[in-house]
């Protein structure tokens, strides 16, 4: 199976080319089949690779395809690295990707851009696979920018809408800010280690010892890239706007896969981070700040997708928190469970929006549980999973992260629990407002309400099952289970293991779990009281809010602040460059030289009086002068 690994990215690429070239001529059914089929093929190979890796002795394969770039000692092969980490990501990407493709067949069935949508989606999977399969940083960067491109294309999928286009552009540009950091990081890696292949870099880094400044700078530059792609403070504002794309895109790209690229990158470079405690602290602090910041915004949002978007930002913050305290396995574990339940939630939201005929405002929903029961149950499962309710998958991954954070720093743990409480609260707020109470939409909408077709509900059910059982691969020792995931990933994080050990007694762990569960139940109860028992509905747009509520509702005015601090000054600066410096100063000097020559000529030509006697006089005088200077 390992030998077929090149087929994994090639299949989606073929899908993209076929659908892209002939999509218009093929029927929608065929396009959907090809689009999902290639992903299924990739999934099948990924499963094969996974088992081969799990059962085999060799844990790392490098497959070189061709030599891509070479300049002097810089030689970059186009090659793939298959190890437990990339294999796990392959499974997540192709697995969740396949389900979302199937879902899209139903969801997009009435859209005129059906084939274009599948072409882009396949292209996205191709780049995402490159990202995780590359055996050096530049291939990762190829995938990294490639998924950014697909994200741009898919956010702006309905390209007639200016607001959507703006969101797409914002996503691409903001990602590019991070990409620049990543690119500089890659260059610094090359300058430092003379190679950008993972293998060479990590081997050398191991011997460099902890606290090396260069490594810290590398780690921070790479992290700038991760901030952009994984929507961390201060580069997160594109992700909520990215919800402009069709809902399957939000599920696949902006929840399950692409935004976790940053976590993959840091997990991949774990040695570099382990060697740099400063960088680790930065990662942890940015992570927890993002987690709390986004969670507070999530409390006051009324758009079903926006709530989920902020929840994604917040959950990504948790993953970075885990990375920052050295819990690499925990972070990857959470990537996996998050991919399941967040994809489930987004697809569920999609199903709700589908039923509501495009309405996304939860103030206009309510009581949907009796109309769309499959969506309702799966959505509830997703909500419980993200809240971290035992025994759903979120419980295990969140518990692992929080336990590690507790061992590392109690204050961080406290903030972590606070964030978890908020998460639970706004998720249940969303749930109660959407599915409970009375229907608050128009009559027409109520009439239109219907459960989605099977192509949409089946992926929901599969994801719901995964959200329930997904956590079982990582049962902590304290619950007498086996942490299969940790075993599987151990070769990747081996070199960093000296920092991974956390010393918590079983008793402490029980207490931590207990606290988390109590907090969760309290938050659920609180949400229940407000939004189900009292039937409170968030106020309308035009009503005046209390200052704090207003602050949160307006997302701390971060977009406006960026607009004032960056966009406007940049435009002003550019105008100044253009009008003042370029047109007047630089070009002024150039034209000035021209004018000066003209002026001089104009002055000197006055000597040509036309009086021949004068000419002769000057000639004679000149001859005399020349003779004098030559003779004496």
């Amino acid at each position: 199976m390992i030998k077929l690994v090149w087929l994994v990215p090639l299949l989606p690429l073929m899908g993209f080319i076929i659908i892209g070239l002939f999509g218009k001529k093929l029927s929608k059914g065929l396009v959907g089949t090809i689009g999902s089929g290639v992903i299924f093929g990739a999934l099948a190979i990924a499963v094969g690779i996974f088992f081969e890796l799990k059962n085999g002795v060799q844990k790392e394969y490098t497959i070189e395809l061709f030599n891509w770039i070479s300049a002097g000692k810089l030689s970059i092969p186009f090659s793939f690295l298959i190890d437990p980490l990339s294999s796990l990501f392959l499974l997540i990407i192709t697995g969740v990707g396949f389900l979302i493709h199937v879902y899209s067949v139903g969801y997009m069935s009435h859209d005129e851009g059906f084939s274009r949508f599948f072409a882009y989606l396949n292209l996205f999977i191709f780049f995402m696979l490159l990202l995780v399969m590359g055996s050096n940083y530049l291939i990762m960067f190829v995938g990294w920018e490639g998924v950014g491109l697909c994200s741009y294309l898919l956010i702006g999928f309905w390209f007639k809408n200016t607001a959507y286009n703006n969101a797409a552009k914002k996503a691409f540009i903001m990602n590019r800010v991070g990409d620049l950091g990543f690119l500089l990081g890659i260059i610094l890696i090359f300058v430092t280690f003379g190679s950008i292949g993972y293998h060479d870099v990590f081997e050398q880094a191991k011997n460099m010892g902890s606290g090396n400044t260069t490594i810290t700078i590398i780690a921070l530059l790479l992290f700038v890239g991760a901030m952009g792609k994984s929507a961390q403070l201060p580069l997160y504002t594109w992700l909520p706007d990215a919800m402009a794309g069709p809902t399957p895109v939000s599920a696949l790209i902006h929840a399950a896969t692409m935004v976790t690229a940053g976590i993959y990158m840091i997990a991949r470079s774990n040695i570099l981070y382990t060697l740099s405690p400063e960088a680790m602290n930065v990662v942890a602090i940015i992570g927890i700040c993002t987690a709390l910041f986004a969670a507070t915004i999530g409390l006051a949002q009324n758009d079903i997708k926006k709530v989920l978007a902020y929840s994604t930002v917040s959950q990504l913050g948790y993953m970075f928190l885990a990375l920052g305290v050295g819990a690499y396995t925990g972070a990857v574990f959470h990537v996996m469970t998050h991919a399941f339940f967040k994809a489930l939630l987004f697809l569920g939201a999609g199903s709700v929006i589908h039923a509501m005929g495009g309405e996304q405002d939860i103030r206009k929903m309510g009581g949907l549980k009796k109309y769309i029961s499959k969506t309702h149950i799966t959505f509830l499962i997703g909500t419980l999973a993200i809240a971290g309710c035992f025994p759903f998958s979120g419980f295990f991954s969140k518990d692992e992260i929080l336990a590690n954070v507790f061992a590392h720093n109690k204050l961080l743990w406290f903030f972590g629990i606070l964030g978890a409480a908020m998460t639970t609260f706004y998720m249940f707020r969303l749930y109660f407002l959407t599915f409970h109470g009375k229907f608050r939409g128009t009559h027409e909408q109520e009439h239109h309400l219907h459960e989605s077709p099977p192509s949409m509900t089946i992926p929901l059910i599969v994801l719901a099952v995964l959200s329930i059982v997904g956590g079982l691969v990582g049962i902590p020792a304290v619950l007498h289970g086996t942490h299969y995931l940790e075993e599987f990933l151990s070769p990747v994080f081996e070199a960093s293991s000296f920092r991974l050990v956390h010393h918590l007694s079983h008793q402490t762990e029980y207490i931590l779990m207990g606290v988390a569960t109590v907090v969760m139940i309290a938050a659920i109860y609180y949400a229940y009281t407000i939004y189900s028992k009292k039937n409170t509905i968030p106020v309308d747009e035009d009503e005046e809010l209390k200052p704090l509520h207003k602050l949160v509702y307006n997302k701390y005015w971060v977009d406006e602040i960026y607009e004032t601090l960056i966009t406007k000054p940049l435009n002003l600066l550019s105008e100044a460059f253009h009008k003042v410096i370029d047109n007047q100063l630089v070009d002024g000097i150039v034209n000035g030289v021209g004018s000066a020559v003209s002026w001089m000529s104009g002055t000197i030509r006055l000597a040509q009086t036309g009086n021949i006697g004068f000419y002769i006089f000057v000639m004679v005088i000149s001859i005399v002068l020349i003779l004098f200077t030559q003779l004496f």
């Binding site: 061709f66 002097g72 810089l74 691409f172 410096i581």
Partner: protein, 488 residues
């Protein structure tokens, strides 16, 4: 012999074309250009991929003054000859749907210009280089003057005088070195090299500035660039393509062949300042591009940004920088021709180039939108397009010179996305308006040009190796020579 053929075939073809009247002029010009490309490909087939100079031809031209007609092709020349001979047929093809008055003169001038350009790239004699260098200016002057747009007389005059004045510095530098050649005056490249390298650092500094100003004007590098936006905007599309696609490379090529080895110590001494100017120009031009309203002018400024990075990479004098510059010269040539063609297509159909006035073309012509997107991605250096390989190597090269400068130059990665995506969105996306709703579909020749360009963008983004293989031995040898001269 083949080098002579490469130089003189376009000249002969161009002169013969003057006598052809009627509609077949375009086809004949295209045929001649394709034949020239075939000759170049034939030369490539017989080219040994090593550091030697091949297909040499050395004829004592003015023996008493040490001037020879010495031409030859090494890896660096080969790549640029290929670029020139590849782009000229493409450029001629772009004009198939445009009716120029007096077409035989127009195409004749393009071919004569091609002769001068090839001559510049293969010259191995300082005097000959200068002759070709100035010769290239004459046809483009007439192209811009006779077929240009608004206010062309003033703008073309400025362009001509500016570049001519710049070249004068180069002539001064060359003559200065000529007077210092060991054992009898000679303009031969090897003699000039040893003359330059035997000077002390102060005098090499003078030589550096003399040559650098000429090349900086041609590229152009900030602050010698103000002729460029006007000229690019006013020139007829094909003239702009010749200027930006090929002629600009004369400047960057000049730095590689006629500056680095002539005054290595001078380059080293003033590298901070020169690279600083180039890198500042990158960000400066990107910023200005953001606020342009005319799409053609926007691309003109974006070209300044790209070239600034190339110049910085070359002057940083390391393998990645110079190699990246070579790759980027090629990519930039292809991409910028594509972009200017897109401008031309839009202008022909809508009679405007104003970004804000357009919109929604994608609704009417999705195919064009897709091809435009690919060219755009090449231009913003997305990985797996040709723009990325060069840009990565260039940033890498500049980083080795000075990390801060690389970081600053890297801002163009962001700004490039800003101005390209903004204009793409404004031109192609959204709803159609009165101007764009009747956007005519692409003609066959237009589609062919865009497809060729897009294919080049993707193929050389994925497999840049054939290109690097041609050029890397020559670059390595050049840098090894420089290291010796610098005493590293």
């Amino acid at each position: 012999m083949i080098t002579l053929l490469l130089i003189f075939f376009p000249l002969v073809a161009g002169l013969l074309l003057l006598f052809v009247k009627g509609p077949q002029v375009k086809t004949l010009a295209l045929g001649a250009a394709i034949l020239e490309f075939a000759i170049a490909v034939f030369a490539l087939g017989h080219f040994h991929q090593d550091a030697t100079t091949q297909f040499e031809w050395n004829y004592a031209w003015v023996q008493s003054l040490g001037i020879t007609f010495h031409v030859g092709i090494d890896g660096i020349s080969m790549l640029l000859v290929l670029l020139t001979t590849f782009l000229v047929p493409v450029i001629i093809l772009t004009s198939f749907k445009t009716e120029h008055k007096n077409p035989s003169a127009f195409y004749s001038l393009i071919l004569i210009m091609q002769m001068a350009l090839v001559g510049v790239f293969v010259s191995l004699d300082g005097f000959l280089f200068y002759v070709f260098w100035e010769l290239a200016l004459i046809p483009i002057y007439f192209i811009c003057l006779l077929w240009g747009g608004e206010d062309r007389a003033r703008i073309t005059f400025k362009f001509f005088v500016y570049t001519l004045a710049g070249s004068l510095f180069m002539l001064g530098g060359l003559i200065y070195l000529y007077l210092h050649t060991p054992g009898g005056h000679s303009f031969d490249i090897a003699a000039l090299y040893s003359a330059g390298q035997s000077l002390d650092v102060v005098h090499q500094g003078y030589v550096f500035w003399a040559m650098f100003i000429a090349f900086a004007v041609k590229m152009p590098v900030f602050p010698f660039h103000t002729w460029q936006p006007d000229t690019y905007t006013t020139a007829p599309t094909q003239g702009t393509m010749m200027l930006s696609g090929i002629m600009l490379k004369m400047g960057t090529f000049g730095v590689i062949r006629w500056l680095l080895p002539l005054a290595p110590l001078g380059v080293e001494k003033y590298a901070n300042l020169a690279i600083g100017l180039a890198v500042f120009g990158v960000v400066y031009a990107s910023c200005i591009a953001i606020v342009q309203k005319d799409f053609k002018r926007l691309i003109a400024y974006s070209s300044i940004a790209h070239v600034g990075l190339i110049a910085a990479g070359i002057l940083s004098m390391n393998t990645q920088g110079v190699q990246g510059a070579m790759i980027q010269m090629l990519s930039h040539g292809v991409n910028v021709v594509g972009l200017f063609f897109i401008v031309d297509l839009i202008q022909k159909r809508t009679n405007t180039r104003e970004i804000a006035a357009l919109g929604g073309i994608r609704n009417v012509n999705p195919q064009f939108a897709f091809l435009f997107l690919i060219v755009l991605l090449g231009s913003v250096a997305l990985p797996l397009t040709n723009g990325f390989v060069g840009e990565f190597l260039l940033l890498n090269g500049v980083y080795q010179f000075n990390p801060w400068m690389a970081g600053f130059a890297g801002l163009s990665v962001i700004l490039g996305a800003v101005y390209m995506l903004r204009s793409y969105q404004s031109i192609m996306l959204g709803e159609t308006n009165g101007i764009t709703s009747s956007f005519a579909p692409l003609e066959k020749s237009e589609k062919a040009v865009l497809l060729i360009i897009c294919a080049a963008i993707i193929v050389f983004g994925v497999f840049p190796k054939p290109l690097t293989d041609i050029v890397s031995p020559a670059v390595d040898q050049l840098l090894a020579g420089l290291r010796v001269a610098l005493g590293h």
